[in-house]
Amino acid sequence: MLDRLLILSVFVVASCGLAYELIAGALASYLLGDSILQFSSIIGAYLFAMGIGSHLSQYVKDEDSLARFIDIELLVGLIGGLAALALFLVFSWLAAPFRTVLYALVLIIGTLVGMEIPLVMRVLNQRQAEFRELVSRVLTFDYLGALAVSLLFPLVLAPKLGLARAGLLFGICNVGVAIWTAYAFRRELPGLRAQLTRAFVVLALLVAGFAVADRLVQWSEKGLFGDEIVHAETTPYQRLVITRWHDDLRLHINGNLQFSSRDEFRYHEALVHPLMATLPWAKRVLVLGGGDGLAARELLKYKQIESVTLVDLDPAMTTLFATAPALTALNQGALKNPRVHVVNDDAGRWLENHDQVYDAVIVDFPDPSNFALGKLYSVPFYRLLKRHVAEHGAIVVQSTSPYFAPRSFWCIDATLKDAGFHTWPYHTYVPSFGEWGFIIAGAQPGYAPPERIPVPTRYLNPAAIRLMFDFPPDMQPPPGIQPNRLNTQSLVHYFEQDWRNVQR
């Protein structure tokens, strides 16, 4: 009877063992992309770790093998059960060491799982089972368990419970095996009481984890993705994630929302038309950033524009937006348009190494959230840019939110002025971003909002543009704002303070 119980626990243990492997693989391909690589390397590492576990099992003394088996079940249950949840939290809060944590967990769990079967076989062996029969029965149930979970996991558990809760469920199973075994062999175990206490503590932890897992994962994951991921890619420069919810496509770079297809036209029309509608003679336009091709799409509406040079760092980004059907539908194939020349280079380096002059420049960089990006909003950078702007040309700069980050917004304005530009700040409402700001800057004074927009728009008309240049009392420039000098990088400090005030 007891032996049969052990054989049954082999079935459960084997299921759980494979489950952790599948969860780690799925999680890695879900979060890191490139599923073939993730699955292969995780299965490899896991099997290797199981080998280590099998090797280590020889150091367990014969008389301890049952007690250690129970301890190992508890450990596997605890670590394996919480692994998926922990990885979600690590990924969303500490992006850098994610891989390290992932593989460390895989190795630890694999090592522990690798000790299970050898120990069970030794326990059975001590109980004078026939060796031939023993091996055959243990391995049969081992493989049966694997089959069961390999079907159950993708068809039922992952979709119904999600990865984190599925992991916790298997952890509970492991602890169940431990408790069950301890109870069944209670006469042979010296430290039964302590072992059972430990087991129930672990069980309580896992059950509690199961109860809150959904909320925790939602909380960690929603910040990043929220919806179904249709494309995930980690490039040498950034992590691109595209999500879809009904007809809403969203691009996230390093977890920050870049656009939502529902309202991006508001952002891109506001970025392009207040400037371009006043430059009917503009023939050559430069776009810095904007690898999604959406600003280029707006520019291409102007028939007089002969060429749009788009400088974006990441070839993966421009390739994606030039080829993926859902995305080319959104940017109307702008990146494949013969008038658009895509350059994959660092905007700073490219400006230093080229001397072409443009009639208009659209500057659509990520927000100045660190010292490196802050340099793209500095006095020397704008001076450099100025050398690429025609005498009567102008630039427009995406300038963060004048409502949420007022000091940052007005710091960019002060920086442009210090670099010798005349500036015309404006703002508009983009539902997925909130109130957002832009600054038109020109070497010559005398910008006036356009009387008409010569191209079709969904959002803007001349009256709406005129309103954008009005800053109501709660968005007035704060006093004492310093321009962003490279020696001090005031903008990065302002940006950090501004958003710290906004975020809870």
């Binding site: 040498p236 700073g348 960089f365 010292f371 006095v379 020397p380 450099l384 490279l486 990065v492």
Partner: protein
């Protein structure tokens, strides 16, 4: 590629180590390629030993006649040539010496240039007309002679400027404050307030007590008496005992003088803190000007004015003053060339001039007594295949220093780039002033040390910060050994009659070198070059 081969070889060796009977030093498995440069050492030793240079019986294979021979291409010599050229005086020849640019030399890994010597220039004082003229010409400053000029921000050091690794974490700035008790902070502030008050203090002769160039400082005997005392003693006498303050001051002395507090003149120590009054309209007072390859950028600007036609590669092996001219013998790749000049600017370090220039004693400089002690330095450029990962939330600064570390920290060569993404590769330049022990003993150690020993020393700060990640990210390291890197202003240096005599020399031989100031910074070296050229031009 090299690194991969190296790692494969290392891996094979590592496997071999697992076999019984095979011995293998596991340390070198994770060590980058090491290259060691000893600029000027062979030539210097050949001169010292008086056997090899000039080779006995070597015929002179060419003669150059010129008005002025500038002998040396460090900042002093280059500034002299630049000023002559800029003021329309073209008849001169500049001999480079064994290491062009001297302490302003540079190296390069792929497309990343990096310094093998000094790396920054503080904002010039009002008295540093020579530096301001240069910065104006380089278009680095608008209105360069204003009280607070508008500097080119791409050359002003970018934020974050510096950080200190202290008690296992980074703090902003190099002056220690993280985990330092308030009493020590108060003592630090007392010291800075005192030196700040000295900045605009005038001596009885109406000059600033501590000026840059140093030669323009007040001669007020009361203050110059501080030169008799060492800085450690002065600090103790004035109640400065806080370990964090003493560490920082010692760090500064090693950084600028190559000596610790106990071997630095108290006058020089105060000069460090009370002389810098330069300001910028668009930067902090403490801001400095810097370039990826350090001071090689201004040095190349100076050299461009000298022009290649007026530059002669080679080492001066003998200078003789004749009745109506100066004769200099130049050793150039197996040839001996004679320069016959009306005047010569001796722009080489004095421990070399003492071997090369005949009859210096007649000018009042006895090489055996008056040559200032030179401190040995090690500059190591680590070519990083990737940026090592920083602790979460930490940003690499331009200058990264380890509290109570062996070295002076490391500088990031790509810090000043304006880029949307940081470059894939960079170079970390780690500096070490070898201030422990007598310079002579340290030089002997440097001469005999193995590549592994030098690497361990060079990497000490980086290893403390990055641990094993350093080896994973550094593909190669170039270690530059400067046995006589800079003169140290030891107690009594102001009273050196020999250097004073050379500074005053106004005959066919003029002297220009930071050794005349007694410590080695760009402004001092440039000032002597500027002044020598001024004398030649009659201004």
């Amino acid at each position: 590629m090299k690194r991969r081969v190296f790692l494969q070889a290392g891996l094979a060796a590592g496997l071999a180590a697992g076999l019984p009977g095979c011995r293998f030093d596991g340390r070198s498995l994770f060590r980058p390629d090491i290259r060691i440069a000893r600029p000027g050492m062979d030539t210097g030793h050949a001169l010292r030993d008086r056997r090899a240079l000039p080779p006995p019986g070597q015929p002179v294979s060419g003669e150059i006649r010129t008005e002025v021979a500038i002998l040396g291409s460090g900042i002093a010599g280059l500034t002299a040539g630049w000023r002559l050229a800029r003021e329309g005086f073209g008849d001169f020849v500049l001999v480079t010496g064994p290491e062009p640019f001297g302490n302003a030399a540079a190296s390069r890994f792929g497309d990343v240039p990096c310094p093998t010597g000094a790396h920054y220039l503080p904002l010039p004082t009002a008295a540093s007309i020579h530096v301001r003229t240069l910065l104006s010409e380089m278009k680095l400053a608008d209105d360069a002679f204003a009280a607070a000029p508008d500097y080119d921000e791409s050359a002003l050091v970018h934020a974050p400027e510096s950080r200190l690794w202290i008690n296992g974490r980074w703090q902003e700035g190099v002056q220690p404050h993280h985990g330092i008790p308030p009493s020590e902070i108060a003592e630090q502030q007392r010291f800075y307030a005192y030196t700040e008050s000295l900045k605009h203090h005038l001596g009885r002769d109406g000059r600033r007590l501590f000026e840059i160039p140093l030669a323009l400082s007040s001669r007020d005997a009361e203050w110059r008496a501080l030169d008799a005392e060492n800085f450690a003693h002065w600090l103790a006498r004035n109640g400065y005992t806080a370990p964090s303050l003493l560490w920082y001051l010692d760090y500064c002395c090693r950084d600028d003088f190559g000596t610790g507090l106990a071997h630095t003149s108290a006058w020089a120590g105060l000069h460090y803190f009370a002389s810098r009054t330069g300001r910028a309209r668009n930067g902090d007072d403490a801001a400095v000007l810097t370039w990826a390859d350090g001071l090689n950028t201004p040095a190349r600007h100076l050299l461009a004015a000298v022009t290649p036609q007026r530059t002669l590669a080679g080492s001066v092996v003998r200078v003789r003053e004749r009745r109506d001219h100066v004769e200099a013998l130049v050793w150039q790749n197996g040839r001996l060339i004679r320069i016959r000049a009306r005047c010569a600017v001796i722009a080489m370090p004095l421990f070399v001039a003492g071997r090369v220039v005949e009859g210096l004693a007649g000018d009042g400089f006895d090489p055996s007594i008056h040559t200032p002690e030179h401190a040995p330095w090690l500059v190591a450029n680590f070519a990083m295949d990737h940026f090592p990962s920083e602790k979460t939330g930490e940003t690499l600064a331009w200058d990264n220093v380890v509290y109570q570390g062996k070295g002076l920290g490391y500088v990031v060569a790509t810090h000043q780039l304006i880029r949307a993404a940081r470059p894939e590769r960079t170079v970390f330049t780690a500096y070490h002033a070898l201030a422990d022990g007598e310079p002579r003993d340290v030089r002997r150690w440097l001469a005999g040390a193995s590549a592994d020993e030098l690497y361990d020393l060079a990497a000490s700060d980086l290893a403390e910060v990055y641990g094993w990640k350093l080896a994973r990210n550094a593909g190669a390291v170039e270690i530059t050994l400067r046995g006589h890197a800079m003169p140290s202003p030891r107690p009594g240096f102001l009273g050196n009659a020999g250097t004073q005599a050379l500074a005053a020399a106004d005959g066919r031989l003029l002297f220009a070198h930071s050794d005349l100031s007694g410590y080695s910074v760009f402004e001092e070296a440039a000032w002597w070059g500027w002044r020598a050229a001024g004398r030649l031009l009659g201004t």
